[in-house]
Symmetry: C2
Subunit: 288 residues, 2 copies
């Protein structure tokens, strides 16, 4: 059984990076956490909060001697960061990331057996190390995308580290992962953004908003997500997301047609399908 | 000042009708509540629960001598029920309903000065008198759609009765009302229904569902609504709803175009608009 990691590097110390640092500090007794952030103030705050032991001045300094390197930048900056981390990492180091789309990253960096993509499902919407929590990952699924050439020892070490954070690591194919996220996360976000802008863009839209109720509140909650994070996600997973959006619009059209034709039975059948599926759905019910 | 109503009739005793009966019994000291339901068992249960004082055997019996008549059937059955209520009602009786779309009803029955459409915004999704609560309307907006010929005395009596239930009556034009509901309630429901069916209709859809998280949970909550209620709403408000659906799809297309063109700035701007609007929105913040 491999020893727990002695040194962990966190590159990019926002909510997720900071929570990784806190979890490592409090849940992996052997760990020293080296952190690097392009904004020195973020690194200093992280050190002050106990999220990292050492605020490194460069990526190379943070990565030196690290056994696990977490790249925790926004999606749009991840590829370059992973490249630099792999250049700085030793031959027995595993480099992972926490981005919510995986196919492009695995296509670009999967040729290096030290890179294994990852994504913790935290549901957290705020940004910044101030929101970091040592228990952010407890009970959360954490996807990993090992390829055929991923080193078994490195994968094992990564899995154990993540499990020590309280998360539930699960291997998944990068493409399946992106389709999954497009379907159950990215598309709902896109629809919620569009819903908000469709209301505010019309005459009396502000009045309508002021009169909206609890259904609207829950439906649009995810529209309040971080614009830069979601700009990057909409771009990085656009192929799967556009395909899902198309499927969705086909379904919407079947509703519209039934409405236009006054087909009450078809409408009742379609709403029944949606309603029963949703009524019987429980979050995480089928998780293994 | 007109006296509070002595007799109230409730036609159709489900969740809303039953709550009207309970609110009248407990909040309008002078009221006798006569109830009628096509299902005698529903009327018997309502009497047992204290929601009505008398279970009438017919619409005519329930309406005789009533000063306010509430028609609380599902949307699809409302028009016929209102017609029967108007036929049974005395010349000084106000007849109202609780349906969530108003334009068609006002167009059909607004020629009778005794009919004033209504709709309480309760956000309740379950059906059946067992879910009735005497405080269901406390603090809730209750729209009324008086027309130019609506009797002032009758409108005044209706308003006072509803206010006695704890609700906040507000007059609104029937057409504006339907557009409002299409925008902030009916369209979100339609999108949530379509989202569910779009997921379950595709390969691996059930697997995807089992892995969905809290964003999906809140976004689709309203998809679990009652199929018959929503079949009727989708049909009765279809003109406004189809217009809103079209507007929404135009907005969705602007997102898709920006994604296809890789226009990061446009995407960030659009998400920022949605995110800031939603972040600053508070339910009922602008209510007078």
């Amino acid at each position: 059984m491999p020893a727990p990691p002695g040194r962990i590097a966190v590159l990019g110390i926002g909510l997720i990076g900071g929570s990784i640092g806190l979890a490592a500090a409090q849940r992996v007794a052997s760990a020293d956490v080296f952190g690097y952030d392009p904004d020195p103030r973020a690194a200093a705050r992280a050190k002050h909060l106990g999220a990292i032991d050492v605020a490194a001045d460069s990526i190379a300094e943070a990565c030196e001697g690290a056994e696990v390197i977490f790249c925790a930048a926004p999606v749009g900056a991840l590829s370059e960061l992973i490249e630099k981390a792999l250049a700085a990492a030793g031959p027995e180091t595993v480099v992972t990331d926490v981005g919510s789309t995986k196919r492009d990253l695995v296509a670009r960096h999967g040729g290096d057996p030290r890179f294994i993509g990852g994504h913790p499902l935290t549901g957290a919407e705020t940004a910044g190390v101030e929101g970091a929590r040592e228990d952010l990952f407890v009970g959360a699924r954490w996807y990993l995308t090992p390829t055929e050439i991923s080193g078994g020892l490195l994968y094992d070490r990564l899995q154990r580290t993540i499990a020590a954070f309280g998360a539930r690591p699960q291997a998944i194919d990068a493409e399946a992962r992106d389709r999954l996220m497009a379907t159950v996360s990215h598309l709902p976000h896109l629809l919620a953004f569009s819903m908000m802008n469709s209301v505010t863009g019309q005459e009396h839209g502000d009045d309508f908003l002021s009169l909206a109720g609890p259904g609207f509140r829950d439906f649009t909650r995810i529209a309040a997500s971080d614009p830069k994070v979601w700009r990057d996600i909409l771009l990085s997973n656009r192929d799967e997301l556009l395909a899902q959006s198309k499927l969705f619009q086909q379904t919407l059209r079947t509703f519209a047609q039934a409405m236009q034709q006054g087909d009450a039975q078809a409408l009742e059948d379609m709403v029944t399908l949606a309603s029963e599926t949703r009524a019987h759905w429980r979050m995480g019910a089928k998780r293994k």
